[in-house]
Amino acid sequence: MQWHSIDEFFAMGGYAFYVWGSFGACALLMFAEPFLAKRRLSEVRQSLIRERLADELELQQKNS
Amino acid sequence: MNSFLATVRRDLLLAMRRKSEVLTAVFFFVIVTSLFPLGIGPEPALLRKIAPGILWVAALLATLLGLPRLFAADHVDGTLEQMALSPSPLGLLVAGKILAHWLLCGLPLVLLAPVLGVQFDLDASALGILMLALLLGTPLLSLIGAIGAALTLGVRGGGVLLALLVLPLYIPALIFGAGAVEAHIAGLGAGGHLSLLAAMLALAVFFAPWATTAALRVALE
């Protein structure tokens, strides 16, 4: 362990901007991407569920 | 005025429908500016020197590339005929199309230029001048280009003939546009160049839509 304090850790020996810029961008994008993918999945699911509901309603109206 | 805005909206909608179109004009700009360092070699001092010229030529070519489509699609499918026969004045519709073209092809270049300029190691004040010059220059390119597009409409050999007609007319814009940045870097002040650009733009705003309309009527005959 080469860090003596938390400040020193964040300072990264003067390269804070570059190191945290890199890791930060990775963290940010790799957090956002799965989020977007999941949202896409749930959007399709939602619209499919809505469609099924509409189908059922139509069926009920026909029967009654 | 209503039909002017309707035209702008229509052309933007059409472009959005072809999702990729908007982005790709920008990508072309990026790719072309990146081609030159590849062909010329990576020496930074050399690159910094030719940066304004390259960015301007790339902007010019990016505008040029989209020009043939400015009226062609509407011509082929007969919409242009309908526009010429529409109760709204054709000039207004044409002006709308030109504005839409600038919004799609010109404005993104202005916004993107500083990012690319950084790649070539230009400093902040030079980037500012570059953006200003492009802001005055790209509408000029769209306006002049529209005349060329209308003149070559339906003419055999379209795209290339268009380039032949329009490029010479673009040269003043290129010289003053790139010149503004170079003058600034050389410490001479860019004011003169920029005001010449502005004057040309004012002239073009008046005459280009009129000339374009006339050319379109000829093409439709």
Partner: protein, 199 residues
């Protein structure tokens, strides 16, 4: 209302027609006839002002065309599809109206499309429609754009039997309220009456 006299037109060294004249009053329509290449399309383009005539005059409400009034009063549908392949029929209709400076609400455009049998296709891009359906999208403009004079060049092309009948009815209704029409077609037209002009 429409008075045409002494019209002449030549293409290349070929004189297509000369001394063509006719006039239309409200409720009347003209059937321009002639074999392929006789000059029907050329005549229509002269008429609406897309190309200049060699000789002759065209008067609309006693004023020479093309006047702003004429453009407002007239609608021309030609050989071309004149629809945007990337847009849906609904968007096509509304944008065409907007360019003509007309406000068109969703309801009216929907009604026009349904009248032309495009139910269920309102949201597809025109690109994937069949040949006849594309023509129908174009023809829907007859319902959404108020015009006195309809100039239709081979509007019956590519339409199926029911669509031909429908277009015939539309023209009939238009004439009944004092409209006028100039039509070409190689098929017999399902519209009664009408003057004939043989080129």
């Amino acid at each position: 209302m429409l008075n045409v006299s002494d019209l002449a037109c030549s293409r290349g060294e070929r004189r297509l027609f000369a001394n063509v004249g006719f006039s239309l009053a409200p409720g009347e329509w003209l059937h321009v006839q002639g074999e392929n290449g006789a000059g029907k399309t050329s005549l229509m383009r002269l008429l609406v002002g897309l190309s200049p005539a060699d000789a002759g005059t065209i008067l609309w409400r006693n004023e020479p065309t093309p006047s702003a009034e004429f453009r407002r009063d007239m609608i021309y549908l030609g050989h071309h599809a004149a629809v945007k392949e990337d847009l849906t029929p609904l968007e096509n209709l509304r944008l065409a109206a907007a360019l003509d400076g007309i406000e068109l609400d969703e309801h009216a455009s929907m009604a026009a499309l349904i009248r032309l049998g495009l139910r269920g296709r309102e949201e597809l891009p025109v690109r994937v429609l069949s040949a006849g359906q594309k023509r129908r999208v174009l023809l829907a403009r007859l319902l959404t754009r108020p015009a006195v004079l309809w100039v239709l060049d081979e509007a019956f092309n590519a339409l199926d039997v029911s669509a031909v009948k429908l277009l015939g009815e539309l023209i009939g209704e238009h004439l009944a309220v004092g409209g006028m029409a100039v039509l070409t077609s190689h098929q017999p037209l399902p519209v009664p009456g009408g003057k004939a002009l043989m080129l």
